[in-house]
Symmetry: C2
Subunit: 311 residues, 2 copies
DNA sequence: TGTTTCAATAGATAGAATCTATCAGGAGGC
DNA sequence: GCCTCCTGATAGATTCTATCTATTGAAACA
């Protein structure tokens, strides 16, 4: 099998048509280049160079192979360039997953600022249910996941990004809409719409409703936060939606109103998850810090933890 | 600089995602593959593989580089294929030069048979004047030249293909056309048309005419054998044209007739020339033998020498 | 808890790439 | 014609490196 070095020598000789000068070009001595080219010819079983004291000429095969060798060397050079580019932190593409209940509002909130400060960083985004995304993350299909914590998998690590209360969403004319802050006990016997199973919020809201004596609507399970909101607007019941979602979608229209729940309100802890031992673990930690900063500016009403070592 | 071997290991690992099996695939032991991959990462300065006991995952850069590495390996494989192909004699393309006074009839005579017996052999043909073609041959722009011998250049070798007499070509109604064989002395004071300077035949016919007392037409010098023939047909004079040309072009029409000259007739020796030490010298010798055989069949009236070592 | 599996590591070894020094042949100058 | 310079090939020594065997340490599994 020919070596890259031999190809380099052939390319040099093709350029200079002169052994000594080719050797200089390749930063080796002339005997090295001579023997390696002879070795290359031996391995390929073809004469590449016509040697004479007065003239060095490549054979037609030699020309052809030199041409191809140059292409190979160029491609290898590109590989090195790819590596060099990737070496810089927060460059290149990250394959991230976002749980559906975050996708519609989290990325739009942080990506513009992030793109401004780190223009070389791109995201390949995949939405889905937590279980599926965690599986993909473990398998290597994703590098990074935004979802609700805690995540209890031995080979994954997580760091919190923000603490997001759930807010009561009701039709404008609903009696509870008149309260500025709603007490959990006020939800007794109310009908609550929630997401289909598989979402973290499904279980969380189910538990909460059982505690306060509210009734989960048996007839309907939403597939997204948007459908829940629309069902509330149609008077099918109340719902509990994440504060940042409310901020980005509910606050913009008049059909439904959102009210905070009195502490201890149900809430979710949103964080970033990656594989323990991921090559980019350091980058991910840094990225978490950057995202927390962005959130502090863009969503001051949300509680963002101090930076910490990923746990 | 990464080595091809390291790329091969990366490709194997990308395929199996398992060190031991990748090592098997690459026909080395697992520690070898491990250390070489680590070395590759070190050289590129990038982590390519996420190692954990339970799972092996390529990083995104790892994927990208593995993809490119596979392409490089494929291209190197192609280089080996090119060499393998070139190794078979009388395969591939030969860059040949043919002097203008041969081009119109020599190749059409031999190429059909040659193509039948050696379908993988192709010609890239360049016509020109002898001097220019010899220069190109020496510089490496051509590999092989068909022209009149002798050729006296130290770095070239030649082998004869056939001995080709020149024939007298005259208008049908010309008095000399009545002789079956024409004596050279009969050309005394006749007007002979010949080619422009630069052709071997220009000098050869000039010498011959001086010897027999014929007159070279001062007003006209042909640029090709075809124009000479046409000038003869128009009654501008007589001409001396090569026997195989006569056979292929003159014999087909009625306007001019060709008559052999009584010995010692002027003649030219046609041969093949290549560079001393050409990679394909052996092929060229073989080719000469094949061409001589074809000529013995296709042009039995022509004298073809026995095969010999190229001189 | 013991067993198996996996990748990393250590140390030895054979092979390869490179170097310095030198040779042999041809070109060009005098 | 002879000498010198220049070319590429060759010889031999040396350093590097790719590879091997043997082993370790850690996780997964039963």
């Amino acid at each position: 099998m020919p070596t890259l070095q031999q190809m380099r020598y052939l390319a040099a000789l093709a350029e200079t048509l002169h052994f000594r000068r080719a050797a200089e070009l390749a930063h080796v001595t002339q005997p090295t280049l001579s023997t390696q080219l002879r070795e290359l010819e031996l391995r390929l079983g073809v004469q590449l160079v016509e040697r004479s004291r007065s003239r060095v000429i490549l054979t037609p095969v030699g020309e052809e192979i030199a041409r191809r060798a140059r292409a190979v060397l160029r491609d290898v050079e590109e590989i090195r360039a790819v590596a060099r580019f990737a070496r810089q932190p927060l460059h290149g593409t990250m394959k991230v997953g976002v749980v559906q209940t975050l996708g519609s509002y989290l990325l739009p909130l942080i990506v513009p600022d992030l793109h401004r400060s780190h223009p070389e960083l791109g995201f390949y985004v995949r939405e889905g249910l937590p279980e599926a995304l965690l599986g993909r993350l473990e398998q290597g299909g994703l590098e990074l996941l935004f979802c609700a914590l805690p995540v209890n998998r031995a080979d994954l690590v997580a760091t919190p990004l923000f603490h997001e209360p759930l807010m009561l969403v009701a039709p404008e004319e609903h009696p509870l809409a008149r309260h500025e802050v709603v007490d959990a006990s006020a939800l007794k016997d109310q009908t609550i719409l929630t997401l289909e199973p598989g979402h973290r919020m499904h279980d969380q809201i189910g538990d909460f409703c059982r505690d306060v004596g509210a009734r989960i609507s048996p007839d309907y399970e939403g597939t997204s936060l948007d459908t829940l909101r629309q069902m509330v607007a149609m008077g099918m019941g109340l719902s509990l939606l994440p504060a940042l979602y409310v901020r980005s979608e509910v606050a913009r229209e008049r059909l439904v109103v959102a009210r905070p729940l009195r502490a201890p309100a149900p809430a979710r802890q949103i964080g970033m998850v990656w594989r323990k031992g991921s090559a980019r673990a350091g980058e991910f930690s840094d990225l978490a810090g950057i995202i927390r900063d962005i959130l502090r500016t863009r969503a001051p009403e949300i509680s963002v933890p101090e930076d910490e070592a990923a746990a």
